[in-house]
């Protein structure tokens, strides 16, 4: 018998063997996926069109704002620049959030199920490549394009600095929320793809999930708050099902997180975005929503760049008086939370969203790994065991 030549495969083991193999596997999947996705000019034509649309949108928002400020009664023209900057920031950020919220999960919703449908997954799982590497490789290569779109928008976003009203830290916060949202919803799409056999079903479930996360959470919060209004003594009643408003629902909504980021650009409490966030998810329970009378719209913006306010803009504890100086601006008091990285304050919403989605990404990825792995599945992911015994059951040896 001819001697079997040694396989030219990296020897398994040593210390970092598992890590190196995982990286090699992720790279293998990534190279393969990107070869398919990025071949030809298609990807770059789409990128160009995307940037043109985003730029056109920003320009239109700028025009609208400019038009408003040409009315001499609209406000002091000194505040026009910051107001325009904030409007462009809000418009572009929310549009990009919308894009990420749908693009990221739909680009992963077929990642595994397409391989199943095309019967290539079996070829893949019989290689020594780990299920973990398959899942991570698929996720990253699907998200690379989303990240590319996000990164390509940075120069466009920088236009807001021309107008002012938005600080660099606001933009950084916005991008952190975007990237984490892409990761979280991308892994949600991947989980659907690995659990559901057909891509069409997986995509449908994914989109339904996205709608639930974005629209559903807001609706539930509105519903709960409407049902659990104040009683005669001014105390808040519990809402439906006898439980209080499930505010954590607001944490998973990327749009609310972005509204919270936008709130950070507003100079005084009670600005439009802050009211939205406070209205749906008061950061202090039964917090008092202070309306400064301006109500909605852009509240008197301050010249750029905005310093991180030392005063909590929202989440006033009940009964805590807020000191106001001569100009009507709040002054620092001892309820101010310590500054955190990127100006994250303890009472803001977006860091919760970021933490929530990072955690859920890990959870979704682990579940996906189990669903992809052909043999070593966790019990609860298995289909229910057979009920009846087969009539021709043999006397098999003990398992």
């Amino acid at each position: 018998m001819a001697e079997i030549t040694a396989a030219p495969v990296l020897p398994p083991n040593p210390r970092f063997g598992a890590v190196l193999r995982a990286i090699g596997g992720i790279a293998a999947i990534g190279v393969k996926e990107l070869r398919g996705r990025m071949r030809g000019r298609r990807a770059f034509i789409i990128l160009t069109i995307y940037l043109l649309l985003l730029g056109g949108f920003a320009l239109m928002v700028e025009q609208i704002m400019e038009q408003q400020f040409q009315n001499p009664f609209a406000g002091a023209s000194a505040t026009a620049g910051p107001a325009i900057g904030q409007a462009i920031f809000a418009a572009v950020l929310l549009l990009m959030t919308l894009q990420v919220v749908f693009l990221a999960p739909s680009s992963t919703a077929g990642a595994i199920s397409l391989e199943r449908e095309k019967q290539t997954l079996e070829l893949l799982v019989t290689t020594p490549i780990s299920s973990f590497a398959i899942v991570i490789g698929k996720l990253l290569s699907a998200l690379v394009y989303v990240f590319l779109l996000i990164a390509a928008s940075v120069p466009l976003m920088a236009v807001v600095f021309v107008f002012g009203g938005v600080g660099p830290e606001d933009i950084v916060r916005g991008y952190i929320v975007l990237i984490v949202t892409a990761l979280g919803l991308g892994s949600f799409g991947l989980l659907c793809s690995s659990l559901v056999k057909r891509t069409t079903a997986s995509t449908a479930i994914t989109i339904f999930g996205v709608l639930a996360i974005t629209i559903g959470t807001v609706f539930l919060l509105v519903f709960w708050q409407a049902m659990g209004s104040f009683d005669a003594t001014g105390n808040r009643r519990p809402g439906p099902l006898g439980i209080r408003t499930p505010y954590p629902l607001a944490w998973i909504n990327p749009f609310l997180a972005q509204a919270d980021v936008l709130c950070g650009t507003e100079s005084t409490f009670g600005g439009g975005w802050c009211s939205v966030v406070q209205g749906l998810a008061p950061t202090a329970d039964n917090g008092v929503i202070i309306n400064n009378g301006g109500g909605g719209g852009v509240a008197v913006p301050a010249p750029m760049p905005m310093p991180v306010p030392a005063v909590p803009e929202k989440g006033f504890a009940p009964g805590v008086a807020v000191a106001i100086d001569d100009q009507g601006n709040p002054v620092a008091n001892d309820v101010a939370a310590p500054d955190q990285p990127f100006g994250a304050r303890q009472d803001t919403l977006w860091p919760k969203t970021v933490a929530m989605w990072l955690g859920m990404s890990v959870f979704f990825i682990l579940l996906s790994v189990q669903a992809v792995s052909p043999t070593r599945r966790w019990r609860f992911l298995r289909r229910p065991r057979r009920r009846g015994k087969s009539p021709e059951s043999p006397e098999s040896p003990a398992p």
Binding site: M1, A2, E3, I4, T5, A6, A7, P8, V9, L10, P12, R21, G24, G25, A27, A28, V31, K32, R35, G36, R39, E115, E117, K118, Q119, T120, E122, L123, L124, V125, T126, T127, P128, I129, S130, P374, T375, R376, R383, R385, R386, R387, G388, K389, S390, E392, S393, P394, E395, S396, P397, A398, P399
Partner: protein, 319 residues
């Protein structure tokens, strides 16, 4: 011969149905081992368990001494698997396809280039190197899939219905390729419900039906063991009544169970005896003055054997 694949009491149940009901297989290194059986007999399930794609409900399976359930990662390094229906990636060139799988096995870049060139040469796809995979013909895709299962130079090849959907020419080419691989020292497990294609190729077979191995061993051994009788065809230079008289005379022999006169004048004998008895019968026939034109044992092929063994109640698809 050292054994390289062994299963013991392999059982696989799918929600209430028993796909594999206690399969014991032993395959020696360097063999081309055929799994024969009708559709739904459990061939594919058995191969998929060996390929670490399915966990058996009971029983053990080992490849090169490693358990497919306990050490799937190690097993995957020594096997190359080609499923019965396999997909190809769109948007991928032939060399990229092989490059991808070579990367999956962690083969270093320089070795990868060499392996891809060698394999494309082996499966006769070298001129197609830069073509897109989906533009290849079915036979070429099959060969490409076979090449993919060879990138890591596995000891054992598990091929599930590799010739299905191939035209006769592609089938011959595949057979040649498998012989070549055997000469390179690979052990090949191949499943098929098309018997002639295995008969010429396999050194050993296991006949599987309804999840159980009915017979296993070298093709010749199985034939010997299972043959309860042979069919002898005798052609005499006689016609009409003389021929019938000759048939009656042959039917009178102790070892002859039945004698049928066929339309073309051949007498077909159901014969119980061994080779010696066959020689004796021929000698007696000649001695009796009957003009023997030909006297032969009907070649019993695998197909006949298979029908005998399975006594299938459903017609066996055979080419």
């Amino acid at each position: 011969m050292t054994e390289i694949v062994r299963t013991e009491g392999l059982v696989k149940r799918y929600d209430g149905t028993l796909a594999v009901a206690g399969v014991d297989l032993t395959v020696d290194a360097g063999e081309i081992f055929g799994l024969v059986g009708p559709n739904g007999a459990g061939k594919t399930t058995t191969l998929r368990i060996l390929a670490t794609l399915l966990a058996p409900s009971a029983g053990t399976a080992e490849i090169a001494g490693m358990s497919v359930t306990r050490n799937p990662d190690q097993v995957r390094r020594v096997i190359g698997f080609m499923p019965d229906s396999f997909g190809v990636y769109d948007d991928m060139k032939v060399w990229e396809y092989l490059d991808f799988f070579a990367r999956c096995y962690g083969i270093a870049p320089a070795a990868r280039r060499r392996v891809i060139t060698d394999l494309l040469e082996l499966v006769d796809l070298a001129p197609k190197r830069h073509e897109y995979v989906q533009t290849l013909s079915r036979g070429m895709q099959q060969r490409l899939c076979l090449a993919h299962s060879l990138v890591h130079d596995p000891q054992v090849l598990l091929l599930d219905e590799p010739a299905s959907g191939l035209d006769p020419r592609a089938r011959v080419e595949l057979r040649e390729l498998l012989r070549e691989l055997r000469a390179m020292g690979k052990t090949i497990l191949i499943s098929s419900h098309i018997l002639p294609e295995l008969e010429e190729l396999c050194t050993s077979v296991a006949i599987i039906d309804r999840g159980q191995v009915l017979a296993q061993g070298r093709v010749a051994e199985i034939e010997k063991r299972l043959r309860f009788g042979a069919v002898l065809r005798v052609k005499l230079l006689l016609e009409g009544e003389a021929l019938e008289a000759a048939r009656d005379r042959l039917a009178g022999d102790d070892d002859v169970a039945s004698a049928v006169l066929l339309d073309d004048g051949t007498i077909e004998l159901g014969f119980r005896g061994d080779d010696e008895a066959t020689a004796r019968l021929l000698k007696e026939t000649v001695a009796a003055g009957l003009p023997v034109v030909s006297f032969s044992r009907a070649a019993s092929d695998l197909e006949e054997l298979f029908l005998q063994v399975t006594a299938a109640d459903e017609p066996v698809a055979a080419a």
